[in-house]
Symmetry: C2
Subunit: 175 residues, 2 copies
């Protein structure tokens, strides 16, 4: 698809078909993640592809009971390696949130390009998800998303919801 059409029609999808995501499609999405930029090219990320039904079900309560999460054939868990790069002089060991969010955004957009729905989940219990997936010390979960074909098909991809106007989020030379 044209780049801008991807951006303009990406929506958070909360209802999925059980249809399997073909390996070659999944690999194209992951390739978009792989080439993402990061500070000093550190690539402080790891993406866990959860397909096992029992594991998916265990993730639901760790994500505030959002059951539709497990409807999708795949749940992706984006993990970041903790390091104290201290971007901007104030981020400390949270600096990796920036890098992992870049890579996750590549994933979300690449999925839309393949007709796959996603929904960035920010409400989760880091410690619980770490236990379920065996994520070691020194790593944290940055976000999760279901990945699958929307129940509504292409109709799931429409203009985004309400947004602030450009004049409200952009200024010139001063804040």
């Amino acid at each position: 698809m044209e780049f801008f059409d991807v951006v303009r029609t990406r929506r958070s999808v909360r209802s999925y078909k059980p249809d399997v995501v073909p390996e070659e499609v999944l690999n194209r999405v992951l390739e978009a993640v792989r080439v993402a930029p990061s500070g000093s090219n550190r690539q402080p990320w790891r993406f866990i592809i959860v397909k096992d039904e029992a594991v998916k079900q265990r993730l639901v309560p760790a994500c505030g009971g959002q059951r539709w999460l497990a409807e999708a054939p795949v749940v992706v868990v984006a993990c970041g390696k903790v390091f104290d790069y201290n971007r901007g002089g104030y981020m400390g060991e949270h600096s990796m949130l920036v890098d992992v969010s870049i890579a996750m955004t590549h994933l979300i957009l690449a999925a839309r390009n393949e007709g796959l729905g996603t929904c960035w989940i920010g409400m989760f219990d880091n410690n619980e998800v770490k236990k379920i997936l065996g994520i070691p010390e020194g790593w944290n979960v940055v976000g999760l998303t279901p990945l699958g074909y929307p129940k509504a098909g292409e109709k799931a991809f429409t203009e985004p919801g309400p947004r602030n106007k450009l004049s409200e989020i952009v200024s010139t030379d001063r804040f």
Copy 2:
């Protein structure tokens, strides 16, 4: 451009032509920012478009003396509103780093789609940049980027630098 070509050929550009970025091009890039997703659709961001030569020059020492930053006709400064959403139970008031990084990634990719170079700058002094641009308390700088046409033209956009293999960044069902 096709979505995947944008992702695959986005490079950090550190040498710019002085040529002005036409308003309609800049607006298309900012529109991609505007529609970006964020937690609970909070849109906790503000983007400052720095065009004033004197202001650009003042940003150089606040970004570790990276002079090529000011070569570009525009420097974009991405700001985030501090709030304690505490994503994952550990991010605290750094949660906004995730949202602003999503929007900034939209900007970086949309710029490439328009033939514009960018370079995400993570080395900066938050307090200094805030002083220069009058950024109020309760907001922090998440990142900056020059925005302009690469001195090398389209040749600036090539395959990305070395990256880890998929097998090194992806696993199934467990970390």
